[in-house]
Symmetry: D2
Subunit: 484 residues, 4 copies
């Protein structure tokens, strides 16, 4: 199958029938009609539709080197700056469709898989078959437009430091329980499989529990499996879809990505899907040497810019509708958002302009602007949300419901709740948007998600610090020369 459209996407997910639990009940029937998933799936379907629309398809696809059929541009391994620009144009188009609220839009994992596959040569050090498995898996996903999710970490109980293990009856770290002729048998749980229940497959690539094994470490592995593999189940958090009304819930009714806990209960992973098995250092190297973070950042920057633009547009509307545009304290806050936007856009330009070939033949963006952006956005996003709270004030609290406008109190709402340039219903709608962003559980989860998108601040800072070691050395030398 070449690139799929929205209904093909939904059909396949609906047929998959993975085991999904939410609030004590197992999901039955079509996932795409379940209230916790339908808004998101409709949004994502509209993105897939673009791949077949005349208006968009030239920007969304390229010809498969295997089949010649159109396949998604986010699968393309970039070999030139023009490839980077093609990829960016495609990813921007999707980002503007979801206004940056999807952390796991399909191009994210497509890009990730491309990066890992391009670096599959690494795996040959462990086992040439694993390298081959990964390359074939990438092709399989690309040619079949597979919607993929992933897990990288385990619940805290699975990575508790040795010193605290005494508090636990049995170790909870994920591990290979057995290897047989058909594959490896895995037991353990993984966090935070965003969109796990609405994807075809899942890539499992967790940081291994640090062992003292000599030779093979049963805690070290990487593989991919269908979401409906026997022996795995998804446990959902509470849904933050406020309701069906796009008026009341303009964001959560469209963009609520469910997060799941994935549990492997001695599930059998077939050999042709195994990429790492027992080599503790290989998992770390796959991230580092594939330049996963750099490639993924190409996609994330598009998302973050679209999201920042959406916030700035929202704030501009809030300011205009209340006539507070001239005040210094308002201008100060808006310039913070503008600076954030210009900074993100500039870092994107700089990374692309400074791109160069890596050892895998990819045209790799300059990682330094991206690493800086990855450390910057988790700090500025919560601040922008705080600015919405500071400017929205009590207008974020006392907001009626869409249905209130259909009752006898309609006339009074119209009288008392209008804004400058907006009638009451439009003004309340704007308030609901600002509320979803800055007060609702949907908004709260977005804030936490952005804070920890690429790890906690120690991790993200450390990545930048290490990635800058050559730069630091050069500048130190300049000061040394100045002093001598």
């Amino acid at each position: 199958m070449p690139v799929k459209n929205g209904s093909q996407y939904m059909d396949r997910i609906n047929k998959n029938l993975p085991e999904v639990w939410i609030a004590g009940e197992q999901v039955k029937g079509a996932i795409s009609e379940h209230k916790a998933f339908k808004g998101l799936m409709a949004t994502q379907a509209s993105m897939y539709d673009m791949q077949q629309e005349d208006k968009w398809k030239a920007k969304m696809n390229y010809s498969s080197p295997l089949s010649g059929e159109p396949v998604g541009l986010s699968f393309l391994q970039p070999k030139s700056k023009q490839d980077l620009a093609f990829r960016r144009t495609m990813m921007q188009a999707w980002a503007y469709t979801h206004n940056g609220f999807l952390g796991r839009a399909p191009d994210y994992m497509n890009t990730a898989l491309m990066a890992f596959s391009a670096a599959a040569g690494l795996l040959e050090e462990e086992n040439p078959q694993y390298a081959s498995n990964l390359r074939h898996y990438y092709e399989y996903c690309r040619e079949n437009d597979i919607t993929l999710s992933h897990v990288f970490i385990q619940p805290k109980a699975g990575r508790v430091p040795a010193a605290f293990l005494k508090f636990f009856e049995e170790p909870a770290a994920a591990r290979i329980m057995d290897k047989n002729k058909d594959g490896i048998v895995v037991r353990g749980a993984f966090l935070l499989d965003t969109q796990g229940a609405t994807s075809d497959e899942i890539l499992v690539l967790p940081t291994p529990y640090s062992s003292e094994y000599e030779g093979e470490n049963p805690y070290a592995f990487a593989f991919a499996v269908p979401s409906n593999l026997p022996g795995i189940r998804f446990v959902c958090r509470e849904s933050f879809v406020g309701g069906d009304s796009v008026y009341n819930y303009p964001l959560s009714s469209r963009y609520e990505e469910m997060d799941t806990l994935v549990i492997f209960d001695d599930a059998l992973v077939p050999w042709d899907r195994v990429f790492v098995c027992g080599d503790e250092s290989m998992v770390i190297r796959m991230f580092d040497e594939s330049h996963f973070h750099t490639h993924a950042s190409s996609q994330i920057m598009c998302k973050n810019i679209a999201k920042t633009e959406f916030l700035l547009g929202t704030i501009e509307m809030m300011v205009e509708s209340t006539g507070m545009g001239g005040h210094g304290y308002v201008i100060e806050k808006m310039t913070e958002v503008i600076i954030a936007l210009e900074t993100l856009k500039a870092l994107q330009i700089a990374a692309e302009k400074g791109a160069s070939h890596d050892r895998w033949g990819s045209m790799l963006p300059n990682k330094k602007p991206f690493l800086a952006a990855n450390a910057y956005f988790p700090k500025i996003y919560p601040r922008m949300i705080e600015i919405i709270q500071l400017l929205g004030a009590s207008g974020l609290i006392m907001i009626p419901d869409e249905k209130d406008f259909d009752t006898e109190i309609n006339a009074q709402l119209n009288r008392y709740l209008k804004g400058i340039g907006l009638n009451a219903k439009e003004n309340v709608q704007l308030s609901r948007l600002a509320w979803e962003l800055s007060v609702s559980a949907f908004g709260g989860r977005q804030t936490v998600y952005e804070r920890f998108f690429f790890g906690n601040s120690a991790t993200v800072n450390g990545r930048l610090y290490q990635g800058y070691s050559q730069g630091r050395e050069t500048l130190k030398q300049r000061v040394k020369d100045f002093l001598s």
Copy 2:
């Protein structure tokens, strides 16, 4: 009736039958059983019960000077430092009952009304009858243990600056439409009547629309009415009660105070309930010269300290259950919370220690520490919530439901979701608490509410700046002397 207990409180509210709208429907039947109100009312009922409990009643009540019956201590006009201490002890007891999450626990309005009534002499300048009305109203509330709410501001449309009025077809500012032998006829809407639907009465004391009227200003008034006065209605925002489960929703199932918009549609306010009518400056003076903010702060400090303690206890639990207590970045964040707590407690002590008599015979706490606290808390509360997000990380996102523990996935949850010193169900419960505080709509509304409790930062800063004019002058003189 002397001090009431919980069931008396609920009975009276249920009998009132005010007109309350929520999500397009009018509330029918007992408010205390409506899912949006029952948790809050149960909490508040337990507070009223304390007034009649043997263990508590000596600390909660004093003898009415009118009847000799026990009446609530928060109605007491303090005449000595000991009175301040009595009042504080009582208010702390209630604050620890609701852990600081009720912004409008009954002692707040009891205190406010006491402050206004003690300063009723002011109103004699406009009309001696108004002064008398206010004093009688205070006695009525005290003797009948009236549960009171209040409104101080209008929706933005009602206070839009003149320059923008051209955008509006008709002025929306609240005003007196008519005066007749029975009273005054009022039209307008008021924000943010927290607990409006669960109170007996409502005090209306809005900042008047600044007019250029000579003589009487129809936009200037103050009065109190029963919540079921004909011609008024309450419009609720969306309820943030997550559900009945105190496990899933430990806070919102107990502490969700509904906020309402109150609409007066030519409602008739009887003369004996009118406190200001037409005198534009009097409303401002009632706030300033009654020392409303200082008296109210006595109550608010108890609430804010209880709340900060609750946050610190929660954070300590989070830190212990994850074993991250030794890290510098954790200690740094916890010390921020500890400093906040010690600061609030110290400001409370300093205000009480520096109390002195005002012109109304009240023992008035030193306003300066309170004004400082009022400017400080709106900044530190959001930071403490941010700290919960920063320490909670992905543990705030992937949280299962209480019901999940009653299914076949129970064993796996127990394996993978336990914490240090907590089994999985306890650990998840802690996560749900942290989530309600820092991610949920209930938590988001608490944050916005605290940010704007006493007005926006310009207002609160200005109050402190003005209240410090003598202090600034003294210190300036000291520097002048130093320089000369």
Copy 3:
């Protein structure tokens, strides 16, 4: 004269003999040998020398369209992106010579004058002669490699709001006292003429005192004069040159730019040097419509990047010499500096990449990244200095003098004051550098200077906010479409 070298620069300044006062004494003799100026002038001389050095001259100069002689590249009106790159390369070379510590390196005013002259067409609206004067003045400066300073504002007493004028016996605002056949007679004082005493000429372009004059406003003018014009004097602040020792004072011994107050005491400005005379709006328009801030930012970005790199190199040395590189709190602070550097570099790239022609035929960088950078740097520079304080700690306080190493205590200093990889004398030298940056008066003045480089934050924010009005409108429309 084509481009000058260092000794030609010093000779001309020394011959000028302007009236310069410092600490109650008038400067006599060669300014280039005065302790307050010699270090700076030597630095600047080395920059001018580059213009004639074989190694550098191809990068520093271009052929004068008038004479064909080499003239300074910072005078070049850019007409293509390549011109922007040439200019940038030249300005970077100078910036790395002074490591970003000169706020008024000659390329700053060369660029400013180029921008004003390119937009001289504007002045034709007031008087074609003024436009011609400005163009000729630009050519004069370019062909003679004039070292230029400028003043844009008046002391506070000269721009006191009308409401406070009652406190003053006589108005202190600068004004034209007379116009005669030879020129205009000017009285007033101007701030903050950095390098006023070490420049050939001075450009006077102050924001006019807002008058209610119809027709000509005597407070509105712009002109340029030699620094030794009869009737003007320069009053210096205290010199922050710590001493001659480049060991003790690595920065102030080289980079201390003196700031002056310039006083015009009925000085006669000849007509051919007058650019604006009486037209109040023209001064504002000259700034806005010449895109002064955008062109000047091309130079400032080079300076700010060089300075940030110098700070990062210094911090890296500090961290290495104390062995504290692995700590999270150190990495966190260093990543702040790295993010600042990457942000500035990216904004520079983005502005140049987004350049387009303006109405004057100039290739104008995209102003938005520059406006963002102008609002960002005044905040991040003090933070970077704070980071030096936080990492330097007591090592910034107890620092011996170079001379101490020449005494009998030398052996003990060597024993107790060494660092990791640095002997005691090197380690102390590094401490002196860190001290000059973050503790000394030189460093303090640098911090204040950067905070207010382009005005206070309200001014700089307002410039960005206004410059972004189209962007805000576009994004608002996107959100409106989303909601409808």
Copy 4:
């Protein structure tokens, strides 16, 4: 000798003749006339004079339990809350004399010595003689009004982690080289002996180099010696006294405390001055169990409050003289300072109110408010200085010299540099004060000193965190109860 006066203080210091080096020269002659010390010593003399002045002496002294003579109140071991109040009143009087700029006013070390001596019982565990030595030393200082300095840490080279020792030829940590019948022989260097050159004696109590010795650790010791002990020398940093003029340098001409490096070159410390010798844990315990930080904080709070008041008075003058008092951004910044002041005052009140007896019979203030204050002030002081920069702007840069007013440019300065309510000379004087606070090296050193007064933030935070362990436990339990 009972309490001394200023001239007695100066005479004794001058007679001491310690070996003091500054900028490569050894100080000869009377220290009190050396330009680096005379201003400070005059200030301190005026403080000692108060002890004998009729107006002050009742508040400054108490009767020696040994001799009945008046001795300084800061030596008093407090046994009641009234004692705490007496001590506070005395220390406030001195703090207002130096406006909080002396970090080592004599009452600081008097208090420290009192705390150590009161807890001398501890030392009996090591050696009863040491306990006796300490008690006698305390009496000696009290009865002779000894001016004391101290050192607690070593230069970085003396406490370099083992991992880095390979970079050093020989260990630089201070140690006991020999013990003989007369005493112990000590070699090493100590930081940051503020006022070392202007004190009679020095208390040496460094954190010991952590050794793996069993039994006696030669790196562990505590003792006190006269400043002129053979074998010790003081090395000064650069003096930050700007000059003699109190107009130009209102602060540094009076309050510049010199910091020194003290070097012990096999100096012999007599046995009767030894307090710890070889017991590694005892040094730590002396700090903890004597409650040194709590007692010292009594003194420091007086200093910090006086200093904050001085800053607020200065800012008020700046704001008034420029007429910017009404602006929101000014009010916002001033309220930050006001909140700081009210917070410090409240924490002082709370600590004293919560005092209780410790095991040594002292009335010990509640340590929690003090620990909070110790973590708070190092953050807020730099912010207050930043506020001065932000409000002072270019007025902090272009400031003439006092001498300029005695020249022919006087008239013009008078015209252009006046402020609202201030003539030019007064206005410039205010600018010089603001400049010394926020730009000069004196001000820079004050900022660094306050940041690290009680250690870096990790140390200070850790002290608060540990000191709060019981409080954290209690609050955790409250939340646990809430959840169960």
